[in-house]
Symmetry: C2
Subunit: 503 residues, 2 copies
């Protein structure tokens, strides 16, 4: 339809997360005349910007008939001001839906078709259920390497790109996640850049975990850098530790990840395209992938891990990225801290060579740093490991970390959680295992990451002998309510720490 | 989580269609303590009833911190009263999602797994994006006959069933749709039941079309019958012409159809399960399926139609339904009327043997009636056709139709649309074709079916010669605005009626 109607913009004060919702009074003339009803897809035109929103009709008591209300995210995306005049019409047919149907019915898509889908998702033409359908079809359709490569490029083309001098090697290190406290990135970046590697690291905030690297780094310094600020930090120090969101590398991926998480759908093809699109956009030439394997980690066994690694290698090749996947132990949380502040403490302890620094976090960071250095140089792994160890032990890594933070706006001070409580063992024995998923949930219930000080400080590791009443972990929270809530979860899930007979 | 929080129910006055949405103030303690945020899935317990809703957080100006708001459909489903105290907690893991993931990754599901998915959808545990994922996975996974049969049974088990005396043959006639004005059902039911067949017909209201059989029949009589009323009407007359919604046969199918339509996804497996679940629930033993084939119909060619028919036959067999699929001409609208009142006029004209009754509607109804009679008796088709023709011509069918309407509450009177306008030919020539989809859209823009009097009265059929300015159709609407809006659509889409050179 070419016919449109004019209405005045109104901010409803409703946060629908990313899904754009428009609200019209059920007795407005336009609804009647245009046949708009609840669930109609509307095209909203506001000056240069436009978006497709789903309509909710509301009681006339809530909204005047000449107004159109918007959810927070729709309002922000359109950059509206109160009372602004808008054109509203039936949403046009989304051009790429025919390609989506083709994919559903088992056909291969060519790069142009995949581009079309990603472009339409970027332009907010897809509803959440359409994005869900795309992700499901893509998981079910077992995409080919060519399709995953095309998907990766399509996502790169939708966002910003970092360009570096011709021929320069650009490094990156990525963990596929799922292991609480596994915050090696800041340490690895410090060591690798102290050794002369260029490693412009952008990290995401937590989506379902109690902390992402960006959340933890935010405790220590500024992480929301513009593209220009990021370039300046890297020019000065050879590295950065920034949040990915602001920089806008592969932003469409974030729209997909939101629905993937809601569906608990983590298909290998989508995961590979998601990770590699951010690397290509960052201009990376050498990428190290940390893959923790364990019964409660994302990858449950060796076979799953090897299949994923193979897919990574096959897609990285046409993208001209030199890749190394390393399988690591994913049987328990790393370090002592879970949650932004607690993890930041661990990182500082390792970088400062403090005697009580968590050994597992240190050794893992050294291992990954050495892998990166070995990729970079002609030196064998053993030599690279000695080099990494020397950089950390000498204080060079700590000095380099401070330089990066200084370039990003300075090292911040941070506080402990206001409320704390011990989680104690109920019986005697040996700690056999930790449930990574429930441990993460526990820290989230305490308020992490939105309260950075909330989380856990682990007091034991698997293999330790424990006595009844001995503290297993200290719980931190910003409010007594959250502390009580997390304690109750622990009470109902004592098997987070599985205690068995001593050997 | 077992922890819950108590809040007071509040009706927001927001129609989100079927998707249940809950609203909480962003500064309420519970959001903080429980970690609820926009998009969190919540479990709402209200006495005996419970449901899973998606959370929208709202400005404190809209909702007090001790209240929880609900969308219209969530409020109705929970049967709430204002201020009622409710328990709210994190939604539990939906048990059948693991089966959904299995399906996504290409595995076959057993009947228990399919039952679990349909049961969870019925209990409103699935979000719209999860339903979308299920429908997509099911379309992409090319379900086996065993899976479609299990899906059919699962949907039957979620609703009411009609039981008839042992050994009695129960007939049904179904059209897969897509052809405006193809309202043969009331005529076929009258003829078949006049011939002694038991045909307890329930029909749906329009979902995307300008009229469903239930919308058209509602112009003529009461269609919202309870299960008891329906049984009484069938006992008295051998037939009924009721709306499906009230009776509750395979109600979960309606939740699926809503998302299928939004995705324009019409997978053969889902279609067959949808149709046959309603027939099994109605206790049908003999089912006739009308499949219009044409370039702008749902089935575009012979091959598509035959593939669908084959699937229908294969699934009907284990369900012990005797099935007959008939392919019919789907090249243009049937009868003169499009929209509830206009179609009702056509039906009455045929039943009353009026001289200007639409011949195509009459012949098609006779053809389908004869197919049903042939299925029933041992007589060949030619004899059944003579019988059907005699029942119609003698006035027996009209008498029987009046009896059915009387048993359902009496024959109603109805009025013409208040506003009308002629759609005229712009050139001379022969009418080559009609675009069924755009014709349906035109009638909907005029207000059909929510305004029953809105719609079209066609003045020409393909093959007719037309002169410039000659009326092609009369447009009816309840308001001048809708009339103007539909006219404008016609102005932009003159090819709805394709006029070519005369032969």
């Amino acid at each position: 339809m070419t016919s449109t109607s004019e209405l005045h913009a109104h901010l409803m004060g409703i946060d629908t997360h990313e899904e754009p919702i428009a609200y019209l009074s059920s007795d407005c003339d336009i609804c009647r005349a245009e046949g708009f009803a609840a669930n109609t897809r509307l095209r909203i035109q506001a000056g240069e910007r436009s978006l497709i929103a789903t309509l909710n009709t509301v009681s006339p008591a809530i909204l005047a008939a000449d107004k159109i209300g918007f959810s927070d995210s729709a309002w922000a995306y359109l950059g509206l001001r109160r009372g602004q005049r808008l054109q509203v019409s039936h949403a046009p047919l989304v051009p790429s839906l025919s390609a989506l149907h083709k994919k559903i019915y088992g056909h291969r898509l060519d790069p142009e078709e995949i581009n079309g889908i990603i472009r339409d998702i970027k332009h907010r033409l897809y509803s959440d259920i359409e994005i869900s359908s795309f992700l499901t079809a893509n998981a079910a359709g077992k995409p080919s390497v060519a399709e995953i490569t095309a998907l990766t490029y399509a996502m790169v083309n939708c966002g910003n790109r970092l360009h570096w001098p011709e021929g320069r090697k650009i490094y990156d290190k990525h963990c596929i996640g799922g292991l609480p406290g596994n915050r090696t990135t800041p340490i690895v970046v410090a060591i690798a850049s102290a050794a002369g590697l260029t490693i412009p690291k952008t990290s995401s905030r937590a989506i379902t975990s109690p902390a992402g690297t960006a959340d933890t780094m935010e405790v220590l310094t500024q992480v929301d850098l513009t593209l220009e600020q990021l370039r300046a930090v890297v020019t000065e120090t050879g590295a950065c530790l920034a949040a990915g969101g602001e920089v806008g590398l592969s932003p469409t991926d974030d729209l997909l990840i939101r629905i993937e998480r809601a569906l608990s759908l983590d298909s290998p093809g989508q995961l590979v395209a998601s990770v590699l699109s951010k690397k290509v956009a960052a201009g990376s030439t050498h990428v190290l992938i940390d893959m923790p394997v364990g019964p409660t980690a994302k990858l449950r066994n060796q076979l799953e891990a090897e299949q994923l690694a193979t897919l990574f290698y096959r897609v990285a090749e046409p993208l001209q990225i030199k890749l190394r996947c390393v399988l690591t132990d994913g049987s328990q949380a790393i370090g002592y801290g879970v949650g932004p502040v607690q993890e930041a403490r661990d990182i500082l302890a390792v970088l400062r060579n403090e005697p009580d620094a968590p050994e597992d976090l240190r050794e893992r960071s050294l291992y990954l740093s050495a892998q990166l250095l070995a990729m970079a140089g002609e030196a064998p792994y053993e030599q690279a490991r000695d080099q990494a160890r020397e950089i950390l032990a000498s204080g060079l890594a700590w000095q380099q970390f401070q330089s990066i933070c200084a370039a990003q706006g300075g090292l911040k001070k941070f506080a402990e959680g206001a409320h704390q409580s011990e989680l104690r063992a109920q019986c005697q024995g040996q700690l056999i295992s930790m449930d990574n998923r429930r441990l993460a949930r526990l820290a989230k219930l305490a308020g992490a990451p939105s309260s950075p000080e909330a989380g856990l400080h682990l007091r034991v590791k698997t293999g330790n002998l424990v006595a009844p009443g001995q503290p297993l972990a200290t719980l931190y929270a910003a409010t007594p309510g959250e502390l009580a809530y997390a304690r109750e979860y622990f009470h109902h899930n004592p098997n987070i720490f599985a205690i068995g007979r001593p050997p």
